[in-house]
Subunit: 356 residues, 2 copies
């Protein structure tokens, strides 16, 4: 168990030794620890050793020159110069917000970035500006399109954050695959099988083996099978890929580089690095702020107060579970499993950063 403050300082100091400016280290720490607080540990500290290795091997640039390549009143294309995904994403979302202040909406496509953690961190940046926020990213290929044996898409998440009034905001944050890679990994470690409908084997047959990814298998899109609409999950993942990569010039589909150092980037290069896409929509471009907030409250109350099915206590609003976790975890120390703690201690020793 470690306090948030100790972990934050550790991240900033280790990254500083690797040449990352302190403000950029702070951003990285904040996004990673926000994932921990929101109970999404698959996108939290567990990623930190990977980022360190990617900087060490020169695949993440600790001092990127993040710049705009092309722009219009409501759009920009950002080159992340291979920087830490969090640093590139925060700057890009800020650009979308600035654009929206003038044009009503702002839309930023990003190339040459890296793994950016939880999508919801960036969509939620819009909320305090009285804006709705959108955030999406492509990722290295683990998902097979409907009817395909090959892995061509990442778990490509989308997040949409919409402000309310007295009610907390609506925050959807979801992968477009039927199961997250992290959950699959936990099943594998525990030597459990998974139900059918999450993965396929290397020939595209239905499988219950959570270890299928290292054997050439694939995760299925949301919907699980064509019969139940996996072509819709495929459409969503494909849309995220095209908006993130084709609009920006990033690597697309099978050409997105892996976000871990032990896997080599694809031999054929199509575009640069990982791609993201961000949007910001000013509420008062559409409705008076007051009226919109009142209506969102009414929307949220209508859904939350609807009749739950027998097995459930209440109908949830997107963002409820993560926000409740964040509130509950706010002043608690963060628990890290032994293996990760060991890895972090090793990194700290290597870079002479104190961490007990």
């Amino acid at each position: 168990m470690y306090s948030k403050h100790i972990l934050e300082e550790m991240i900033v100091r280790v990254l500083a030794r690797l040449g990352v400016p302190e403000t950029d280290g702070q951003i990285t720490a904040d996004v990673l620890l926000s994932a921990e607080l929101r109970n999404i540990p698959s996108h939290g500290l567990i990623r930190f050793p990977d980022y360190v290795r990617l900087i060490e091997t020169g695949r993440i640039n600790p001092v990127p020159s993040i710049g705009i390549l092309r722009e219009t009143i409501s759009t920009a294309v950002v080159d992340g110069d291979s920087g830490l995904g969090m640093v590139v994403a925060v700057k890009s979302m800020q650009t979308a917000i600035e654009k929206a202040k003038h044009a009503g909406t702002g839309w930023v496509a990003v190339k040459n970035s890296n793994h950016y953690g939880i999508a919801g961190y960036y969509s939620m940046m819009a909320l305090k500006h009285d804006m709705a926020g959108i955030s999406m990213t492509n990722a290295n290929p683990l998902v097979a399109p409907t009817f395909s044996q090959d892995r061509l898409l990442g778990t490509n998440p989308v997040s949409i954050a919409i402000p309310a009034g007295k009610q907390p905001p609506f925050v959807a944050d979801m992968a477009t695959a039927s199961m997250a890679r992290g959950k699959l990994h936990i099943k594998q470690i525990n030597n459990e099988r998974v139900k059918y409908g999450y993965v396929q084997d290397a020939e595209g047959n239905p499988s219950d083996d959570p270890g299928v990814l290292v054997k050439g298998g694939a995760i299925l899109p949301l919907g699980s099978s064509y019969e139940y609409g996996s072509h819709k999950g495929y459409c969503m993942a494909a849309t995220v890929d095209i908006f993130s990569a084709l609009f920006s010039g990033a690597g697309f589909g099978p050409f997105v580089p892996p976000s871990v150092a032990y896997l080599e980037p694809p031999l054929e290069e199509q575009g640069k690095g990982t791609g993201h896409f961000f949007g910001a929509l000013r509420i008062d471009a559409f409705q008076s702020k007051t009226e919109f907030r009142q209506k969102m409250d009414k929307w949220i109350e209508t859904f939350r107060n609807s009749k739950p099915t027998k097995e459930n206590d209440m109908v949830l609003i997107p963002g409820d579970p993560e926000r409740e976790a964040e509130t509950a975890n706010k002043n608690k120390p963060i628990s890290i499993d032994d293996r990760l703690a060991e890895q972090i201690r090793g990194i700290c020793k290597k870079y002479s950063v104190s961490f007990q």
Copy 2:
């Protein structure tokens, strides 16, 4: 079997007798017949008798004053004045395209509209302007959110159209529910059961009864169950509802009026009519047109040429089935089932429009 031309003329003439200007009738006919050609008959001619009844009962306004209520450089809010959904939607998408010409992107939220047919008709309008197009609409409540007994959302479709070069465009057009209402209806007529995972009964229990909707049951969101990600389908349907209704001032969730005359509008009014949301993104706001088109070709070829699973011939690109149907059906007469033909003959007789 009727030629496209004969059906088109019939629609325009009947609507003219009801006071709809000829150009608006043409738009309505074009959208309905486009659904027939694209093999989406659930959104085609079968809707025409409903539109007629809704005009007759004063719930669709044949001569709407469609106007902009609020705007910024990149956005507009349109009041459809209760007009035919197709007419309101075409004008609104044109506004989004005009906005995009100046601002890079254009975004239009629409209130006080009606059933607009296939979402893909409007997203595809962007293609000939070298733009990507987005179209979505809310609809009367048939879908229960995850954990809910109550029907609070429509099958809320989204369509995304993206231009390519030598390849035909990418056109996703999908409901966010696990099954379309039309398909359920066909199973019911044929006295068949459906597999579990599409509907729930009035208490929220899993059901295999396709007639569940008239007994207080509901369609399940894409994903079918919480275990397989129905909360993601719920997030998508909710996002479509909020963008279509809260940004525009239309009826939301359970307050969206039905698109058939035999069901009364909800007693409690929240917002006006059905809501839509449209987007247009200028390709050259992000990349040179030539480069973007080349890359989209490469994207499409990569996916189409990937290895299919044993049971399938090839991996499809979103839009392939509908486009192939459209090509195959282009010069063929359109077949209408006897019951619908009978209804149409009745309408034509009533309005003294010749139709054999």
